[in-house]
């Protein structure tokens, strides 16, 4: 009874891995690949996001003259949808041999980070650019013990984009020392991921069939997990609700 059971498990996992390898070609939709989608909401009143005083830099102040900048710690959209929540598979993912090949962009625009939270795969390339006529320094601050190494580069007006990647899964704060209110996140995860839009909706694509634990990460409200099963070519659903502090 023991050995056939074991070999079956081994065989099926090998088959699964091979399928994953075949299916998970970047942005190639093949039969069998599923997705996980849902909505992330805030339960309670949206906290007040303080306005930002940018008067120390005339460029930044002018850019926000008619539309004052606000902190983006908790961004709530229509129907209580939570923006900037990162969804990723924290358990059950066997690791894809191919890393997503699209290069997400982290823009420094009007002295704010766009997006405020940038999710990416381990080893996936991302690009940091500036749209501003004032100097920024882009300074991610990972824990060097994870294998991610901190760096700090200037981006004066007109500077070329900087392309980088991270070696290990980690939530990395990033800041500009020149404009101390500029604070964002690189959320580096293993495998497919998604970030919620302004209504709190998300879809994780390229998920092979299987049972997974999905984690929703919010910078201020913490993390939540849910078990999700994805059938071949099917869609799993996971909705999350964070309680307002």
């Amino acid at each position: 009874m023991k050995s056939p059971c074991k070999s079956l498990v081994v065989l099926s996992s090998v088959v699964l891995l091979c399928c994953a390898a075949l299916i998970l070609g970047p942005k190639v939709s093949a039969a069998g690949e599923g997705k996980i989608s849902g909505t992330v909401k805030l339960d309670g009143t949206a906290p007040h996001m303080k306005g930002i005083d940018m008067s120390k830099d005339p460029f930044c102040a002018k850019a926000h003259a008619s539309d004052p900048g606000h902190l983006e710690t908790v961004v709530v959209g229509s129907g209580g949808g939570l923006q900037n929540v990162v969804l990723y598979i924290s358990e059950g993912w066997s690791g894809s041999p191919t890393v997503a090949t699209n290069v997400p962009i982290f823009d420094q625009k009007n002295c704010m980070y766009t997006p405020h939270v940038l999710a990416m795969d381990v080893n996936q390339k991302f690009s940091v650019k500036t749209s501003d006529a004032t100097t920024h320094n882009i300074h991610p601050n990972p824990n060097p013990m994870t294998g991610n190494i901190p760096w700090n580069q200037s981006q004066p007006p007109g500077a070329a984009a900087v392309e980088k990647s991270w070696k290990a899964a980690e939530v990395i704060p990033v800041q500009c020392n020149i404009h101390p209110w500029m604070h964002g996140w690189f959320v580096v995860v293993k495998g497919p991921y998604a970030t919620t839009d302004d209504s709190g909706n998300y879809t994780i694509n390229n998920v092979p069939p299987g049972s997974y634990t999905v984690t929703a990460w919010q910078e201020d409200l913490g993390s939540q997990t849910q078990k999700v099963t994805v059938a071949a070519g099917g869609a799993g659903a996971a909705n999350f609700t964070f309680k307002a502090k």
Partner: protein, 294 residues
Amino acid sequence: MGTELRKWSLLLGAAAFLALPLPSWAQLTTIDLAQKLNTEAHVGKLTGHAKAGAADYRRYCVGCHGDLGDGNGEVAQWLEPPMWPKPRNFQLGVFKCRSTPTGTLPTDQDLFDAIGRGFDRSAMPIWNTFTNQQRVDLVAWVKHFSPRFSGGEKPGDPIQIPPEPEVTPERIKAGRDVFARVQCWKCHGVQGMANGPSASTLTDDLGRPIAAFNFAEGSRPKCGDTDKDIYRIFMTGLDGTPMPSFADNIKPDEAWDLVFYLRTFMAQNSKAKAMAKQLGLKPVDPNAPAPAGQ
């Protein structure tokens, strides 16, 4: 089946128990102690051995940098930034004074120079009382604390510094343009007096307050005070601090112009300072719109 399961869960439990007390890097990197203790350093013709540096480290360095090299020696608690920067945590492998690009390890020569130079405006004295062999052994011992070094990561390729050109009024003026374009004054101030609009909010990577360098007060830059040192400082950046690398945004020739302009702020006499006086150069205007990119 049941006994099999129990066996596995016991084994797993034991493994989890053993793994718990270890620091996270020990789980990620499998560097054994012997490998760490065999860390070497190479400076010129000298080879340093970690084990040979241990005794000097325990006698001279441990008070601040600590037994584990984590910067938590007995004295560390009395050092209050930004007046007295905290001792370096060698385990992180992140160093200010490098000849290598931001985000990379320094060369052995960089660490060797740092020990001999000391750090101005800090509790780190000039350790020029050691022989070169002692110093290079200490470099190896300092390296052995970081899994980055002992795990085999190589230092970055040192940035290339072209020979220093002759200082001219044109170069000083061009340096002023670079200073305005990349906006050094945001932290260092338009006269290099560390009073730029962002100066008061600066913190290091560990969230501790840190001061921008004040060119005018007559102290030495932490990573050396020769023209070449100043060139290197702004091109590599000082990792772990708010000072970024400008290597992508200042061309080598312009970099020398900027060195000459920075010299005009410094209390120490220099050819550049005398020239700037004659030119009657005014500080850059912080309210002028930023000049277009290069």
